[in-house]
């Protein structure tokens, strides 16, 4: 069996690519899969801290590409999941230190030993993005229900299609059900109407994401209940693994006050 290469990208920065990469890689590993996460954001390394592996880095992606170490030496083994590895980005180099064909070669070397390779793409549409997308079998586009993020996601969808990596699958991150229900946030259906792309996951806004990155322990590992974002990430991982998992109901349960408000605004 050869690994599937998943590239997580977004165009716009700050929508949660690294969080999504860390949580999906971890959730796939928790399903018993062999997973390597690759940080392709050379110069702005971050996946290591989100996964809590920053103290173990000796070699990085650029060291592998430039032949200073063997691939295995740059693969940091996760502390908790036996079959989860991280290849960190170089911190003191830039995107031109690696080429798209380097990335294809590196992933091809890994394919036989892994079930999934999850690549964290840098923001933007330049070299770093092309490096991250070149080896992809499937591109996961992360967006937020926000005008600028959706616009950039649309641009990325177009570029992925042009690179024949399309059509891509969408993860809508940081959805606030309360805001959607009062009409102050684009709904999942609105975003899908606009982008016309397949939905892979909807992740609710969750303060515990920040707590998790403070601790360097991806949210999916924080016990099995109580975290809706963690649950949503585990669902995405199962969908990626071919299971059909229904989407979570994120609608807000009506309270007396919300009913009263709806009545006052004529929306009852």
């Amino acid at each position: 069996m050869s690994a599937q290469v998943l590239t997580v990208t977004s165009g716009k920065g700050g929508v949660g690519k690294t969080t999504v990469t860390a949580n999906l890689a971890t959730a796939l590993a928790m399903l018993g899969k062999r997973v390597t996460a690759i940080d392709a954001d050379i110069g702005l390394r971050n996946l290591d801290v989100v996964m809590g592996l920053e103290n173990r880095i000796v070699y990085d992606l650029v060291d592998v590409v430039e032949g200073r170490c063997r691939l295995r030496q740059a693969m940091i083994k996760d502390k908790r999941q036996p079959e989860l590895y991280l290849i960190p980005a170089a911190q003191t180099r830039d995107k031109t230190a690696v080429s798209p064909s380097d990335m294809v070669l590196l992933c091809d070397q890994l394919r036989q030993e892994m079930d999934y390779i999850v690549i964290d793409s840098p923001a933007g549409i330049e070299r770093g993005f092309r490096n991250a997308v070149a080896p992809a079998d499937k591109v996961l586009i992360v967006t937020n229900p926000e005008v600028s993020a959706v616009r950039d996601a649309d641009r990325i969808i177009g570029l992925i299609e042009a690179e024949e990596k399309g059509p891509g699958q969408l993860i809508i991150n940081r959805v606030k059900p309360q805001m959607v229900s009062r009409g102050d946030m684009l709904s999942v259906d609105d975003v899908l109407d606009i982008l016309a792309v397949e939905l892979l996951g909807v992740i609710p806004e969750d303060e515990r994401i920040l707590v998790a990155s403070n601790q360097g322990l991806p949210l999916v590992m924080h016990g099995l209940n109580g975290s809706s974002a963690g649950e949503a990430f585990r669902h995405v991982a199962r969908r990626l693994d071919g299971e059909s998992v229904p989407f979570m109901d994120l609608s807000v349960k009506p309270t007396f006050m919300s009913r009263l408000r709806a009545f006052m605004s004529g929306q009852n």
Binding site: E146, V147, V150, R151, D154, R155, I157, G158, E161, M179, V180, R182, G183, D184, M185, L186, S187, D190, D193, I194, A196, R261, M264, S265, G266, Q267
Partner: protein, 87 residues
Amino acid sequence: MSWLDRLLGRNETSGQIAKQRLQMVLVHDRADLPPGLLEQIKDDIIQVIARHTAVDTANVAVHLEQNARENRLIAEVPLLAARGRRG
């Protein structure tokens, strides 16, 4: 939307406004045709057609339409009645 918005005649939520603005901006992004360029295209179309027949220039409309990920340039060019041409 609150009863206050309704009272003041504001009947669109900010979510709806966001969706409409996105749809407009993406039609132009996808076609790589800035809104100003459409006006130029409109003038060019009028010129070409006016060489052959009389055009009701004030009522020519050119816009982009999108269907899923396909873009279409729609031009409506009303012609002036061909008075006396057959007579």
